[in-house]
Symmetry: C2
């Protein structure tokens, strides 16, 4: 069981966009080159992020992607949710409800998600920026 590559790319793209000057859009071309991906593939991922309201896209010349307004509220979980969907790590396919095993698994998952919700991307972006200098 592993998070998809798409989630990895999405997280890195988000951090990159957070480090851009205010109101400057970045094209998929540039974002794709940075991560050695094909633009069409990354485009799929970016569209997911846009649909989740995490980034804004504008087509046409001088268009591209930029982070959505609420930059300081975006968590790891937000991004993961956008790329992975909101499926559970564990479903008991045997019992219809009240499975004791499922309860334990769900609780562990909840706690992990709570942690990932508390981790904001902006902090990683700042750390990355500081590291580079």
């Amino acid at each position: 069981m592993r998070y998809s590559n798409a989630t990895n790319y999405a997280l890195h793209t988000m951090v990159h966009l957070m480090l851009q000057p205010e109101d400057s859009a970045v094209g998929v071309q540039e974002l794709a080159e940075m991560q050695h991906l094909s633009p069409t593939y990354l485009s799929k991922i970016l569209t997911k992020l846009a649909k989740a309201g995490l980034i804004e896209s504008t087509p046409g010349a001088k268009g591209g992607y930029k982070i959505s307004r609420k930059k300081h509220e975006i968590s790891f979980l937000d991004v993961i949710h956008a790329t992975e969907g909101d499926t559970s790590l564990f479903d008991c396919s045997i019992h219809h409800e009240g499975c004791l095993i499922e309860n334990v698994m769900r609780q562990a998952e909840e706690n992990m998600k709570a942690e990932l919700k508390s981790k904001l991307l902006i902090n990683i972006a700042k750390e990355a920026e500081a590291k580079q200098k």
Copy 2:
């Protein structure tokens, strides 16, 4: 991203084996019927559990599977590890080491695994037993 069905079956099988009288082996036939699985398929899962030392198998007449000695030490994580392997939920395929994003993801995973390590199957088995009465 989801844990495999095999993990679900493995957890339920383990709980079932824990509720058996001491030293009585259960054949794959019975275990498979209980979960509406084909014996050959469940057999694969059981072999993994056996290799991980969680259950013991004896071939031949009157053979079958029984829980290993250290019944009171077996955690959810032990079973998950047996069926899923010890892969990480997240690998940053871009950075070779010290990826800030990976660090956050790994920490969250560690915490979840710590929780699953603290949850013992024997307690679920006892709960299930009490529930039935």
